[in-house]
């Protein structure tokens, strides 16, 4: 039995969500846009899912758009709002540590006449709301800041940023994909206009996400060809997945409210971080306390993160380097670089993200396996051994 510590990548579909979905994959197979009975029955499931998600976010059902996932939610939020407001101005403010679904969409707009300001972060990965305020100008139409970072787990002061945006009358998007399973979300407390969430990060199915779009926020759709989702997202709705998302999100929100489960997770997280950082050359990344309860991330001197992840996997421990999903890439993480970690050190990144099924025994076994794996990898790569290779050596080619 393996120990799964990669919940920021995806989570297993929980039984309740699967059971809620099954009728919509079998008897209730209608198209929710149809007039007839089969259509109406499917529509009921979709409407109920929408109501449930709206309630969990403090929103109205009409403000929820179902999408194909977190990436589409982010893309739609950025491009949809920016193009709709493009007559007023063409400036976007975001941060250097956003998910690529935000950053690459902003970069795309940058090639189509928009200016994008990327606000930096401090060494813990925290965004300074004052820096966001300073980046806003009279042409700014959108600010996009994530609620919690997917690589290092740092939780951002989105409510403060939201109040700045509200005062400056600029639309505010929050990527809450990672935060949704753990933090109570209230779109009004955040003063957010657009909020992204994803099904499979909170024990729901893959292929489904949701986007809160505050009433009155103009949005241009990405997909054309139908009036679904109030003309914001054409295409026959994925009813079963929407039901699964709604069910899983409700259960996750319940659990997030339970201090017992939250403190259980943060206890495991702190034990992981403490155990890992006593290994020489292992450094915590992200904020010490202002971080997701399930997220422990480190950089390890003298190793390649991907090698350690493979080594751990062969011992039955599933982890991640935390950065880009590209096969075998060693591109240093943009998040770690933005936090001021040098490219060489950033290559040794390891991200362990806990979940419902993890136990204290998992933490103990993982720390032990990391310690052994790191020792083995360092012994095999003497040139990169931290004791013999001071930081200055990182610039020298390994010839």
């Amino acid at each position: 039995m393996s120990i799964y510590l990669d919940h920021a990548s995806t989570t297993p579909l929980r039984r309740e969500a699967l059971e809620a979905m099954l009728p919509y994959l079998s008897e209730h197979w209608g198209n929710p846009s149809s007039i007839h009975h089969s259509g109406r029955r499917a529509r009921q499931g979709l409407d109920e899912a929408r109501e449930s998600v709206a309630m969990l976010l403090g929103a109205k059902p009409r403000e929820i758009v179902f999408t194909s996932g977190g990436t589409e939610s982010d893309n739609l939020a950025i491009s949809g709002v920016a193009w709709a407001a493009s007559a007023r101005g063409r400036h976007i403010v975001t941060t250097a540590i956003e998910h690529k679904a935000v950053l690459q969409e902003c970069a795309l707009l940058g090639r189509h006449g928009f200016d994008v300001t990327y606000v930096g972060v401090d060494g813990d990965g925290l965004v300074d709301p004052e820096a966001v305020a300073a980046a806003i100008n009279e042409r700014t139409v959108l600010v996009s800041v994530m609620a919690a970072n997917n690589e290092v787990g740092t939780v951002q002061p989105v409510a403060e940023i939201g109040s700045i945006c509200r005062a400056r009358r600029v639309a505010f998007h929050v990527d809450a994909v990672q935060a949704a399973p753990f933090l109570p979300i209230d779109v009004n407390a955040w003063q957010a206009d657009v909020v992204s969430i994803s099904g499979h990060k909170l024990y729901g199915p893959k292929g489904i996400g949701a986007l809160f779009v505050r009433q009155g926020t103009a949005m241009v759709p990405l997909l054309q060809g139908g009036a679904q989702e109030r003309q914001r997202r054409a295409g026959t709705e994925n009813v079963a997945a929407a039901v699964g998302l709604a069910t899983a999100f409700a259960l996750a929100a319940d659990e997030a409210m339970l201090t017992a489960e939250s403190s259980r997770l943060s206890g495991l997280r702190d034990a992981l971080l403490a155990g890992l950082t006593v290994i020489p050359g292992v450094h915590r990344t992200g904020h010490a306390t202002q971080r997701l309860p399930n997220s422990a991330s480190v950089v390890i001197d003298g190793i390649e993160g991907g090698d350690l992840v493979a080594a751990l996997d062969l011992e039955g421990i599933e982890a991640s380097t935390g950065s880009a999903c590209t096969t075998g890439s060693v591109e240093p993480s943009h998040v770690l670089l933005a936090m001021g970690i040098d490219a060489e050190r950033a290559r040794g990144s390891l991200r362990l993200t806990l979940g419902r099924e993890n136990t204290e025994a998992d933490v103990v076994a993982t720390i032990d396996a990391v310690e052994r794996g790191v020792a083995r990898l360092r012994a095999a790569a003497p040139a990169r051994e931290p004791a013999e290779a001071p930081a200055a050596m990182s610039a020298a080619p390994s010839v």
């Binding site: 390649e304 090698d307 080594a311 096969t327 075998g328 890439s329 060693v330 790569a381």
Partner: protein, 364 residues
């Protein structure tokens, strides 16, 4: 039970090698594809080599079919420095590079063995090379493949005792048609893949762009001289030529001429007629013996100076700290500085060295 890393390039040979260790032994097998280049950029999709994303897809599919775990090992840094840059530098030194041998020496049997075995906790690496390993008189021996047509020992002479001890060549007893047949029987998607011939990081065989890109060498025209020192033409830059080359010289002397020597310091290319560039004696540097020691101070052997060239009888003498003097029974055609001179005793690959420049030969 031990754990074996199967190096999988996405080609048919390494696919079958992985299948043989996965199916034929009680050992646990882990498939590993080495990423040598960053993906993306112009022409990636078109490249049909072991460095392409398509190759990674093929390797992964084969691993899935064999039911073994599959990982990607990133070796971009080492490959860039030890294979690509070394390739460019060889040309800049007027020598002929040997990238396949460098890839074996520094990537497959160093980076993968050292780092890979640590990461995957394995004991041995299996590759799809056509060669055999045996233990004779207490030493690991590198032997030619049974299929002489496919034998790859010319690229493996650099292996050490330590490396051989940790290596398996499951294809050493097989012929290429047998390997394809096995791939077909196993239903591997790589069964009908064409042979890769060109150098994986030099698309369409044109390395001039690479010299400019990696080392800023654009080439400056210079003289082409004949053996007597008479200028017979103009070249585009000495590094664009290689010893033994015939085409692209633009020299019309009534008979075919070949590059005989390249002199980087004076940007000069020297040509000669066919019989002028054969030699019965040359020296090598960086001598290496697979068994750890030379058979004798002076010994009889057979030598091969390029892949697939016939090997010829020779007498080998140790020369200085790391050199060898090779005297062949009959002249060999165009020994090219930088290329391996690989020594054999029957089926056994004894080792070899890199052919030295003419001036080095004269100085020795």
């Amino acid at each position: 039970m031990s754990r074996i890393v199967a190096a999988m390039s996405g080609g048919v040979d390494s696919s079958v090698a992985a299948a043989l260790v996965a199916g034929g032994t009680p050992d646990e097998v882990v498939g590993v594809w080495m990423r040598t280049h960053p993906f993306g950029g112009e022409g990636w999709e078109a490249k049909r080599s072991c460095c392409s994303p398509d190759a990674a897809d093929d390797a992964r599919r084969v691993a899935q079919i064999l039911g073994i775990p599959f990982f990607v090992l990133n070796v971009e840094d080492a490959f860039g420095a030890r294979v690509i840059d070394a390739f460019a530098d060889a040309y800049l030194q007027g020598a002929t590079p040997n990238p396949c041998q460098a890839c074996n020496q520094y990537i497959k049997f160093d980076e993968l063995l050292r780092r890979g075995l640590a990461a995957y906790g394995a004991d041995q690496v299996a590759t799809g090379h056509y060669a055999r390993i045996d233990r004779i008189d207490g030493r690991w021996r590198l032997l030619r493949a049974l299929d002489a047509n496919k034998d790859q020992t010319y690229f493996l002479w650099v292996l050490t005792q330590e490396q051989l001890a940790a290596t398996r060549f499951p294809l050493g007893q097989l012929s290429k048609p047998q390997v394809r047949e096995m791939a077909t029987q196993l239903g591997l998607p790589t069964a009908d893949k064409p042979e890769s011939q060109e150098i994986c990081f030099v698309p369409a065989g044109d390395y001039r762009a690479l010299l400019e890109e990696r080392r800023g060498y654009a080439g400056e025209p210079g003289p082409i001289l004949d053996a007597g020192g008479t200028r017979v033409g103009t070249h585009s830059g000495y590094a664009h030529y290689t010893v033994g080359q015939r085409h692209g010289l633009g020299v019309a002397l009534g008979e075919a001429v070949y590059v005989r020597e390249i002199r980087p310091a004076s940007n000069t290319v020297v040509v000669g007629a066919r019989d002028e560039i054969a030699q019965a004696q040359f020296t090598v540097r960086g001598r290496h013996f697979v068994a750890g020691e030379p058979p004798a101070e002076r010994f009889e052997a057979r030598v091969r100076i390029r892949h697939r060239a016939p090997d010829v009888a020779c007498t080998v003498s140790l020369l200085g700290a790391d050199g060898l003097l090779v005297e062949t029974a009959e002249p060999v055609w165009a020994p090219a500085p930088g290329q391996g001179a690989v020594l054999y005793d029957g089926d056994e690959c004894l080792g070899g060295g890199r052919i030295a420049h003419h001036d080095a030969a004269a100085a020795a």
